[in-house]
């Protein structure tokens, strides 16, 4: 299982902050996880669609679509940060 987290505008748009995803043979990197989520359609397809800037992190480090994901990892998606 991988833990998937959503923050800020994305969390609100998706209506969820956290879920557990079966890291099957499909979800080998962040890009594959995104494809899995997009396939749900609706707000999911929208949120991860073209023209959306979504920042990715694996185990709390900024990642990219090609960053590998394995069982037990924490994967997070969020909009560009606006703190400080």
């Amino acid at each position: 299982m991988i833990e998937v987290l959503f923050f800020a505008r994305l969390r609100e748009q998706l209506g969820t902050a956290k879920e557990r995803l079966q890291a099957g043979s499909e979800a080998t990197d962040v890009g594959a996880v995104i494809k899995l989520l997009q396939r749900r359609g609706g707000v999911w397809e929208e949120a991860f669609g073209d023209g959306q800037t979504v920042i990715m992190a694996v185990n709390q480090e900024v990642a990219s679509a090609s960053t590998p994901v394995k069982d037990g990892d924490e994967v997070a998606f969020f909009p560009p940060v606006t703190g400080g």
Partner: protein, 153 residues
């Protein structure tokens, strides 16, 4: 020697500066940045703000920024404090304080830390305006400010 705090409570600027200086008579310069909540943004009145963050990753990101500053300059202590949760206009949001023997390093490191924090630490601001709530968009100026530090100084 360096500390990072994420907290919902207000912070005490004077106490943090005093603690940073401690009893170290080798410190010749302390530069402090305090970011405050404004009551206007993008031309709209803002009544309250909510700061969300990614617990765990925030601390890691700030730790990496502070360590990078320590590598680049000869420093004698860095303090970073960032509030989360509900804030009102006039409230301090973030404070970065840097101590050094000489002022040049303290100025540069302090600005470096806040520039990087603005683009790399997972915080998000949501404003309440007369038209309702809205998420603050990332400012182009912030990523430009960060990129300065990547070019040869």
């Amino acid at each position: 020697m360096n500390t990072i705090e994420i907290q919902t409570e207000p912070f005490d600027i004077a106490a943090i500066m005093a603690e940073l200086r401690a009893d170290n008579p080798a410190i010749g310069a302390v530069v402090t940045f305090v970011g405050l909540m404004r009551d206007m943004n993008e031309g709209d009145r803002v009544s309250t703000m909510t700061l969300e963050h990614y617990p765990g990753m925030t601390e890691k990101a700030l730790q990496a920024i502070v360590e990078e500053a320590d590598r680049r300059w000869d420093l004698m202590g860095i303090r970073v404090v960032h509030r989360v949760g509900e804030l009102l206009p006039l409230d301090p949001i973030v404070m970065v304080a840097v101590a050094s023997t000489h002022r040049g390093a303290a100025f540069q490191a302090c600005e470096f830390v806040i520039d990087y924090l603005k683009t790399r630490a997972p915080f998000w601001k949501k404003e309440r305006t007369p038209e309702g709530e809205r998420w603050v968009d990332a400012r182009h100026g912030d990523s430009a400010a960060e990129q300065r530090w990547n070019k040869g100084q």
